[in-house]
Symmetry: C2
Subunit: 141 residues, 2 copies
Amino acid sequence: MAVTIVENQQLMIKEKIDKVLCTQTEPEPCCPIKDIMARFGDKWSIYTILMLGKQEKLRFNELKGLIAGVSQRMLTVTLRSLEEDGLVSRTVYPEIPPRVEYSLTPLGQSLLLQLLHLADWAKLNVDQILEARARYSRKSV
Amino acid sequence: MAVTIVENQQLMIKEKIDKVLCTQTEPEPCCPIKDIMARFGDKWSIYTILMLGKQEKLRFNELKGLIAGVSQRMLTVTLRSLEEDGLVSRTVYPEIPPRVEYSLTPLGQSLLLQLLHLADWAKLNVDQILEARARYSRKSV
DNA sequence: CGGGATCCCAGAAGATACTG
DNA sequence: CAGTATCTTCTGGGATCCCG
């Protein structure tokens, strides 16, 4: 019956959730999602990854030009963080003037794919969300 | 040839990225990802969604008990935000003492599925990331 | 019980100036 | 050019008090 299929799916979802939550009550080792989300949940990481996904190799100021509104400090911080996690690689050419090129690592590329999935969801549902917001603001008037 | 297949895939990815970035240089209407990420990129939204995914209906203090470390203010703020976007529904029972139940809307459930995909990626790659971090910290000594 | 409103602080983000 | 250093500003979030 359709019901049991649905129920099975629900069960699988719950199992997955359990695994994700893991030892959430404990202080430390824990939660992959939260850790991962913290990486690219910030304001600039996503754009950085997307830009590098488009262009493969980019120098610092090229990136800065492509990401509207980012300050050079925040771009530095963002790139460092991504480099630290092995999502972005940084190549310094010891020339004068100096040249530094950034690109996605294979790991970074695989994350990009995930982000694009998420983007699909977002595009698919953005109207519903906007509608919900409008409804909400109307209600609270 | 394999090469052209890979190239085609790359092309599709770049097209997708273009769509996601859309008019990123313009100030306003823009970027679904960023908007969506801003919703659950914060500290507590994910946990809230996961918990409601597990339990269907939860009262405020039940939720507070399940999400380790959340303050009542932040839980309130988080729930309001999720409700505003139509991801969580809030049902008030006008009793004494008052009772309020929260649950995921269909939209929220579909987001949950996406988050679980992301969690799969995270679990699959968490070791690589930790390794990269270790390498990075060793390098900078 | 389930929050709303207010106050306050630490740490994140921005602007600017300087350097190898 | 690609940063680092420093200063300031802003915001997320905790603590507390209150109400229906």
